[in-house]
Amino acid sequence: MTSTTASLPLATAAVTSARASPWRRRGVGLLLAWPFPLAVLLLWQLGAQFEWIPPQILPAPLVVAQTFSDLWATGELQDHLLISLARVLYGFSLGTGLGLLLGVSMGLSPVVKDYLYPTFRVFAQVPSLGWLPLLMMLVGIDEALKIILIAKAAFVPVTMNTYNGLRNVPTSLIEVSKVFRFTRWQLLRHVVFPAAFPTLWTGIRYGLTHAWLALVAVELLASSEGLGFLIVYGRQLFQLDVVLTAVVVVGAVGFALDKVLALVEGRLLRWRREAF
């Protein structure tokens, strides 16, 4: 479960070079980001125009854009989107809540850790999709199934990172606070949690990413509404424009969710810096 380094995107890419000013480099970077996707889009559109690729296999980007605005105008897209978002919100809150609880108790108490950690590891080892058929038999294919699976997906990384974050607080910090005769509460409040916070927050971000992934999975497999269902539906009718529209929305929402948490992180960490 060392997923911490997986997609912390390009933090290192921002390494500044000594020569150009950061603003100028940023501008160049933004400009250079466009040619490749634009070329792909152009090629794709041309391919559709000259019928290199049959439209059943790959509809033209303009067709997809048209489908997008049609679905949006009828409100169908928003309906599916809202349903999916609500599911993710419930599942993610449940999973994160439980994960924080378990992670904190295992991180702070070696006894609790001894009792629960091995079982947790085994539980985490089976991917969410492995639990799916079992859950389908136990709770049916209703809303409960989706919420449970999404909660499980968020639960594992949150627990893992919370536990690791708390356990890896540098001993030097704890020793210093002992010198200052901190009470246990002061130690937790002013040393342990601030030190563990970045790791913990990474866990929450991963939890959200995994929750979104799990949502699409359950909706693809067992659902009659939501973005995943829209994909299945489009696929069954061989309307790839609908599929692509839904895929784009899925990607955009995943991106936005992660961005929101990154922004919150920036805020919280700024507060942390000011407090010290």
């Binding site: 980001a33 490749f36 792909v40 080892q125 999709l129 799916l132 497999l221 992660d258």
Partner: protein, 258 residues
Amino acid sequence: MNPTVRTVLRGAALPALLLGTWWAAFRFGWTDTKLFVPPSEVWHTAVRLAENGYLWTSLQASLGRFLAGFVIGSIAGTVVGTALGLSRRFEQLIGPSLHTVKQVSLLAWIPLISVWFGLGDPAKIAFLSLAAFFPVTLNTFEGIRSVPRDLTEVARVFAFSRAQLLRHVVLPAALPSIFTGIYLGLLYAWLATLGAEYLLTSGKGIGNLLTDGREHFWMDQVLLGVVIVGLVGFAINLVATRLEARTLAWRGRSTAQF
């Protein structure tokens, strides 16, 4: 009591409790649904399916796909990641697009892939490669980009050629990060194997064993499937950590010399 023994005993307490409850529920008839099967039945099913070969052919099919997809995806990922890490221009051109595409949930690709590649093995392998590709690419890139400048400067002082620089400085320094990517790629690819088998329901595999059990209400087969999925995941994990420890063993030694 010996502390290690105590730790192991404590760790075993919860599973033992669960297993005991499961057995007792069956033994004392607390429930009579058909869905509730005793542990022994799962074992009998395991033996039966192992004897008639169904278990092995499923496992073999899944693992074969898993390996093929993983190898293709991780090789492509290492190549693209290295290119991104070495050339800032390339990174500026391709990087943002890659990061945008990465945001699409993995499984959302399946319907598209099924239209492009059909429902058979090529589609599944393509999907698995995609699953392994992203973590490997990103970690390779990050590993190479974060090679300490001091190291490359020393290499320049020694007038290393570009190939020498790559071979003796950049790759060894980036290796731990590349391994993290490969490790994640393994995990994702296994997850994707299941996803592909659920959604592209053709052929054999552990995923099909699971869905098959569910459709027929064979709880024993479903439980067996879950156990196997967990065991395979565990084995993959074990192999990956072993390999990493072995490949990176030189690191411990070489730093100890100085």
